[in-house]
């Protein structure tokens, strides 16, 4: 069952196309992420759904009802901003109750306290926003939107202003609450790790277009173009000419090839002697080693480019810069564009 559907939406600011015929749809209960670098149009798209930005062309439907030209007030969407946008003159209770009162709903007290319990803020009813931490403020903002039972919840980089640790925490929390209430949500972020963690579906945006959509796993393992490959998975992207020179073999066809750092194997000594049919081997020198804990990240100088290789720390000795190594590129891991 489709909950949100966006059809051919376009928007320009002063002749610059910010949204270019974008279409996407969400199922009920789905959490979709719009992922992209700043300026790619992801926030504009979100704000169009909320009615905070007017669109030039296209239409937006919410549960089969067209809302393209409805004012924000009548759309029944909830929105959480990066800056929280809590009303500073109201305490937590009043903030969460605001929408209920505006819509003259009943059982205000009960609904508010249920919602505060859900976001883990019971007991903070009388606190004012400035007395709360950033994480707590964002929970209030979340509760304030959710208490209205919106048809879709829009989150505009809600965690970007928070510390890494609180951020991880809230990611899980948002996911949990979203599943618990079975609410449809669109989440905007520029952080690919965050997108991977939280989403059911990821839509990657670039220059006002969606360049790839899919589950986190699909996107990670099969990026459809070099841009996505670089952006999502830290892939090594090498021009085909360079790759030919690197491995001395012309059997791959295309303009560029990409391979994930963890798919390349470092080998030395006898196990590297023979090149199998489905793999290539190239030589290089360790330039840098980064210890990230469980993963060892190497930057390896080769004749054509610096190649990144990730290796699990378990059982592997740490190589030192200057060491000559050989790299094994399995054919199945090489993506060609």
């Amino acid at each position: 069952m489709t909950c949100v559907s966006i059809k051919e939406v376009s928007k320009s600011y002063q002749k610059q196309k910010v949204l270019d015929k974008i279409s996407l749809s969400l199922k009920k209960g789905e959490l979709a992420t719009l992922l992209g670098q700043s300026g790619c149009g992801k926030s504009t798209l979100l704000r169009s759904v909320a009615g905070l930005t007017e669109i030039d062309e296209g239409s937006i439907y919410l549960e089969e009802k067209e809302i393209t030209s409805l004012p924000p007030r009548e759309r029944e969407v909830g929105m959480v901003f990066q800056s929280y946008a809590l009303f500073p003159n109201m305490n937590v209770f009043e903030n969460v109750a605001f929408g209920l009162k505006m819509r003259k709903m009943d059982r205000v007290k009960e609904r508010v306290s249920d919602m505060l319990e859900l976001v883990g803020l019971t007991g903070k009813e009388n606190a004012y926003p400035h007395e709360l931490s950033g994480g707590q403020q964002q929970r209030v903002a979340l509760a304030r939107s959710l208490v209205m039972q919106p048809r879709v919840l829009l989150l505009d980089e809600p965690l970007s202003a928070l510390d890494a640790k609180i951020r991880k925490n809230l990611q899980n929390e948002i996911k949990r609450i979203q599943k618990e209430l079975n609410i449809t949500a669109i989440f905007v972020t520029h952080d690919q790790e965050e997108a991977m963690t939280i989403s059911d579906t990821i839509h990657i945006m670039q220059e006002g277009k969606i360049v790839q959509s899919g589950t986190p796993a699909e996107i990670y393992t099969t990026p459809q173009n070099p841009f996505v490959a670089r952006f999502i998975g830290n892939y090594n992207v090498i021009s085909m000419q360079d790759f030919y020179q690197l491995v001395g073999n012309h059997s791959l066809r295309g303009n560029e090839m990409a391979i994930r750092p963890e798919m390349i194997q470092i080998c030395d000594g006898s196990d590297c002697d023979g090149e199998e049919v489905d793999e290539w081997i190239a030589g290089g020198t360790i330039a840098q080693v980064f210890m990230t804990g469980n993963v060892l990240r190497y930057e390896i100088d080769t004749s054509v480019a610096v190649i990144r290789v990730d290796e699990l720390h378990a059982g592997n000795r740490v190589r030192i810069p200057g060491e000559e190594v050989r790299l094994r590129f399995p054919r199945s891991a090489c993506l060609v564009y």
């Binding site: 924000p72 007030r73 003159n89 605001f98 505006m102 819509r103 304030r144 939107s145």
Partner: protein
């Protein structure tokens, strides 16, 4: 380091003496019976204050001044808050224009304003010269930079655009959102502008003298009229007047310390904007001691 401190101490001491002597002198003069030829007055008295507070003209002048200021500030609030809010939220493309218009009075000294005002309002259908109304209009313009900055910064500080959008998404009409969310949040920030405007208009002489003069005697005109008569009495007026101003600026001082309202200095305003913005702070600048230390 020690030697340096001696220098700095002397510099600051001289500065403070230089700044305070006229004030202290005036104060002593206002409580002296006679004071011609000795370092300190020979005998003290409160008779000049007594005389002043007996003078109905003083109260009339004070009342007129307060009336004009209160009207001006009320008018300014009633017009500037909705105007700035509407422009910021609904017509952002006009904001630069509004800012230019609002800051312009900083570049025009009152004497220049007076020339044009006299031309327009001294005859014909709009003969306002000599009435308090022309002063209210002129003062509205004079305090516009203060009011603009105060309100604009308040709106920025409370993140007005997102607040109003949030309120709308939660089902509030724009009018309701403005009244329930925007107004209560920006008023505390605007209080400083109000006090600054009061202090500034309290000391305004140029326009009062040129546009209205003796026909509607304000406190400054009264002071000037008394100028030639009794030195001691005038000192008493000066000190009383000055105490009122101090009270107002003390209020500003207290509030600016409680709330951080000087954000706009740190925002990179360009050229004239920056000068003007910093000039605006002249009366409430002390806030930067703490700011700067952070």
């Amino acid at each position: 380091m020690k030697k340096g401190m001696i220098w700095h101490k002397s510099v600051v001491t001289l500065l403070i003496l230089y700044l305070l002597i006229p004030l202290v002198g005036t104060f002593l003069f206002s409580v002296a019976v006679e004071w011609d030829s000795s370092i300190l007055p020979e005998s003290l008295t409160l008779q000049w204050y007594h005389e002043l507070f007996q003078d109905p003209r003083f109260y009339d002048a004070l009342n007129r001044t307060l009336f004009i200021i209160a009207m001006t500030v009320a008018l300014s609030l009633a017009i500037m808050i909705p105007t700035i809010f509407l422009v910021v939220v609904y017509f952002p493309e006009w904001e630069r224009f509004l800012q230019g218009l609002a800051m312009l009075p900083y570049g025009i000294p009152p004497i220049i304003g007076a020339v044009g005002l006299l031309k327009i309002y001294s005859s014909g259908n709009l003969s306002l010269v000599g009435t308090p109304w022309i002063l209210i209009g002129a003062y509205f313009v004079i305090i516009m930079p203060f009011m603009y900055q105060g309100i604009r910064n308040s709106l920025r500080t409370v993140n007005a655009i997102e607040l109003i959008q949030t309120a709308e998404l939660l089902g509030a009409t724009r009018r309701k959102a403005f009244i329930k969310v925007i107004l209560p949040n920006i008023l505390p920030g605007v209080i400083v502008s109000i006090l600054l405007s009061f202090a500034m208009l309290f000391g305004e002489f140029t326009l009062a003298n040129l546009l209205v003069g003796g026909r509607y005697e304000t406190i400054q005109i009264y002071l000037y009229q008394k100028f030639e008569k009794s030195g001691h009495l005038t000192s008493a007026i000066v000190i009383t007047y000055y105490l009122i101003i101090l009270l107002l600026t003390w209020g500003v001082f207290k509030i600016t310390h409680a709330r951080n309202l000087s954000i706009f200095i740190s925002q990179k305003l360009k050229g004239i904007g920056r000068i003007i913005a910093s000039a605006i702070l002249r009366r409430s600048y002390t806030v930067h001691v703490r700011e700067g230390k952070r």
